[in-house]
């Protein structure tokens, strides 16, 4: 890992912790952004962690760009000895894979896809060498995911699969982006899964939908009353495949205000995780049993 610093105009510093994605890079990025936040530096206006990089927005009238840069470099020195453990939460996200709404949408944009003759999930299963869609869904939903970035649009989580790199699912984005994606689509691009928080343009492959809203600007949904966006970087997600029947029931529960997401506090240790990924995940998922 080689950290690279660059100014983004006169109001931003962009810090690339590593060119490639890894949980190690994400942890370092999260550690450094937390340290900037805790230091309460004057002049800092936005602190944005991303997958393997982060960005600080600052007011150059308050702090000179070169001073801002050297402060971040000091923080990087401390990051070398950082504790790679975090208190976080694990959240179960129900997913209705191969739903009719993303299917209708993907059929409309077939000419923008790598393989117009199959669906997105069939394509993803094939290029990742799964025997079929069922095996692929099993692989997508069996292991947990790290929310390694929130953004693009309001509240959208990027999730990184917590498995050995050799087992990670990778898919290209659409050849050219769609102008439409159903709200709450579970998508995939590069090595990241995502959930589209709002309806709109998108380039990720579409696998299904969740009945659980993750962004509510009106804050009417029971579990979004404290804040309108559900996800935070560092959250851990476990997908659970559901049927149409369960999907419909969950949607009705959300509307009635009775839907309660399954959320449990957990401690995550990157060092323990890396020693035995499968064993660690099994233990991590026990709270959901």
């Amino acid at each position: 890992m080689k950290t690279r610093y660059s100014y983004g105009g006169d109001e931003h510093i962009f810090v690339e912790v590593d060119e490639e994605m890894s949980l190690e890079a994400f942890f370092k990025s999260l550690y450094m952004t937390n340290a900037v936040r805790d230091a309460e530096m004057t002049g800092v206006t936005e602190i944005c962690p991303a997958n393997a990089s982060f960005q600080i927005k600052f007011d150059p009238d308050v702090i000179a760009p070169e001073d801002m840069l050297s402060k971040l470099q000091e923080i990087e020195q401390q990051a070398a000895n950082a504790d790679r453990t975090m208190e976080t939460r694990i959240i179960e996200i129900p997913v209705y894979y191969q739903d009719p709404w993303t299917h209708e949408t993907l059929m409309r944009f077939r000419e923008r896809h790598q393989d117009p003759n199959v669906t997105d999930i069939e394509y993803a299963a094939r290029i990742n060498s799964y025997a079929g869609v069922d095996d692929f869904i099993e692989a997508h939903s069996a292991s947990p995911w790290f929310v390694s970035m929130v953004g693009f649009v309001a509240g959208l989580p990027f999730m990184y699969q917590m498995v050995h790199r050799s087992k990670q699912i990778e898919v290209p984005k659409y050849l050219s982006p769609r102008t439409d994606t159903p709200k709450l689509t579970v998508g995939y691009g590069g090595c990241f899964s995502c959930i589209y928080s709002v309806r709109g343009a998108g380039g990720y492959q579409m696998f299904g939908v969740t009945p659980m809203p993750i962004y509510d600007p009106n804050q009417e949904i029971s579990y979004l009353k404290d804040f309108m966006a559900f996800f935070k970087p560092g959250d851990i997600v476990k997908f659970v495949p559901i049927s149409r029947e369960t999907y419909d029931r969950n949607v009705a529960e959300v509307e009635a205000g009775t839907y309660v997401p399954r959320i449990f506090p957990v401690t995550f240790s990157l060092d323990e995780f890396e020693k035995d990924i499968d064993g660690y995940n099994r233990k991590l998922l026990e709270v959901l049993q």
């Binding site: 105009g9 590593d18 060119e19 997958n51 953004g151 509240g155 990778e170 709002v198 600007p217």
Partner: protein, 324 residues
């Protein structure tokens, strides 16, 4: 009092100076694309310069006032009319209860700011009245105005006098071609030296896809990339990176073909490399570019960017002094 929307215009939204602090959750700053013009309009009508006003793009709305007010229209050259009688831009004028404010066709610029004494009074969301349309957040019900809407205005201060005007030399519009100063950086190293030269040498044209999220440019040569094996997680196209944060003003070039400059409603991150960012002093200018306008990117260093920023602040200070 309220303003009744008779015709909505193309996309008329409530904007103030924006909503900092939530970009890490994908909620952008929003706010006036031309902040100088917003501040000017507010000061002309006696508002605090951070008050909310209406931003109208390319085409003005038609608005009926239910009470007397002082109004000013700044930014684009789009002549306001009170009951069909033209008024001057960048100049405060009065409007009486029952009168209708409408607009002539756009002459120059792209966005007009319509300030009303008392300020547009929609609820603050996360500390701002600005509209973030993509997230259905803030402003008037999270969307652009529609015919039939009734928009509240705050208690009208009467500090603003009618006939106050911003001197001509303080009104700045884009030249032709528009010059957008940018600080190279971020993933600049991804393109070849030859493409670096062509990017600055070419004259670009604003594409029709130009909105509050970003401005797309066309007409320059396709950029060539330095060969590399793509890093894990970045995606296979040479213009892809591992999804990261996008600075405001950053210039991404998907596929190396059409640069996109992100603006106030920016998507907060994604997987395209960026060449650097337009400096803060020139962001207002972008908000006044019409589609098909010619534009050039001009390379500056940090020192020049900070000098331009200071010049911009001085201009603002002169404007405040001129109205004192």
């Amino acid at each position: 009092m309220t303003i009744r929307v008779i015709q909505q215009g193309l996309a008329t939204t409530v904007q103030d100076l924006g909503r900092p602090g939530y970009y890490h959750l994908g909620i952008p700053l929003s706010g006036a694309m031309d902040r100088f013009a917003l501040r000017a309009a507010n000061l002309l009508v006696g508002n605090d310069e951070t008050a909310a006003a209406l931003e109208a793009v390319f085409m003005g709305p038609t608005l009926e006032f239910t009470a007397d007010a002082i109004v000013a229209v700044t930014g684009a050259e789009m002549i306001p009319k009170v009951d069909s009688e033209p008024r001057e831009t960048w100049t405060s004028f009065s409007i009486k209860a029952g009168q209708v404010l409408s607009f002539e066709f756009l002459k120059t610029g792209a966005r007009s700011y319509i300030a009303v004494s008392g300020g547009i009074d929609v609820p603050e969301v996360l500390g701002s009245r600005s509209t973030y349309t993509l997230g259905a957040l803030g402003g008037f019900k999270g969307r652009a105005l529609l015919a039939g809407d009734e928009v509240s205005v705050g208690d009208g201060s009467t500090n603003g006098a009618v006939g106050r005007s911003i001197p001509n030399n303080l009104r700045r519009g884009p030249g032709s071609p528009a010059e957008l100063r940018m600080l190279p950086g971020l993933y600049w190293h991804r393109i070849t030296e030859r493409s670096g030269h062509s990017f600055f040498g070419d004259t670009w044209k604003v594409a029709p896809e130009a909105d509050r999220i970003g401005y797309r440019f066309r007409g320059g040569q396709k950029l060539e990339f330095v060969d590399r094996e793509q890093p894990f997680g970045a995606g296979s196209d040479p213009s892809n990176i591992v999804d990261g944060c996008y600075p405001y003003g950053s210039i991404q070039v998907p596929g190396g073909t059409e640069p996109i400059v992100l603006h106030r409603d920016a998507v907060s991150g994604g997987g395209y490399f960026m060449l650097g960012a337009v400096i803060s002093a020139d962001m207002d200018l972008i908000g006044q570019l019409q589609p098909h306008t010619l534009a050039k990117f001009v390379e500056v260093n940090m020192e020049e960017a900070l000098t331009a920023r200071r010049d911009r602040k001085e201009l603002l200070q002169k404007m405040r002094t001129a109205l004192d």
